[in-house]
Symmetry: C2
Subunit: 86 residues, 2 copies
């Protein structure tokens, strides 16, 4: 099972990279540590609601839009078979 | 600003109530404490990815569907003016 924080992390990372921005830039704008943002992006740490909002603010994307993308990705994951198909 | 965990909590609570189920029933099925589920529903505690998945499993709803509803509610909140309109 793919956990939610991994999908959120992937989504935040891809949005940052599309903007051609560095971890340093976005973490500074969001006022979170670079290490924390890096861990969130890699799905290693749960982002609190406030910090998720701050990261989205730093990326100038709406949290609802990020959640929509995350929901879509999770829906695709939920459709996958749980065991390999022969 | 409405924080994400409050919207998630409201959504989980409304889905439980629609099913006519108690905190005790759902917390037992999700293997989380009743107090924890209650705090999550009231937006007082962040649910980890794993526990959010367990609660959705106990409610027999998909996490992607819950996130879709949460995204929609958050989008409506983001449209609201930040200051009262005279």
């Amino acid at each position: 099972m793919v956990v939610l924080r991994s999908i959120i992390g992937d989504e935040l990372r891809s949005r940052r990279l599309v903007q051609g921005r560095t971890l340093r830039d976005v973490s500074g704008a969001a006022r979170v540590s670079l290490g924390y943002l890096s861990e969130v992006e890699r799905g290693q740490k749960e982002a609190s609601s406030e910090l998720l909002a701050a990261i989205c603010g730093a990326l100038d994307v709406s949290l609802s839009d990020v959640l929509r993308s995350v929901s879509d990705k999770m829906a695709r994951d939920e459709q996958l078979p749980r065991t390999p198909v022969a």
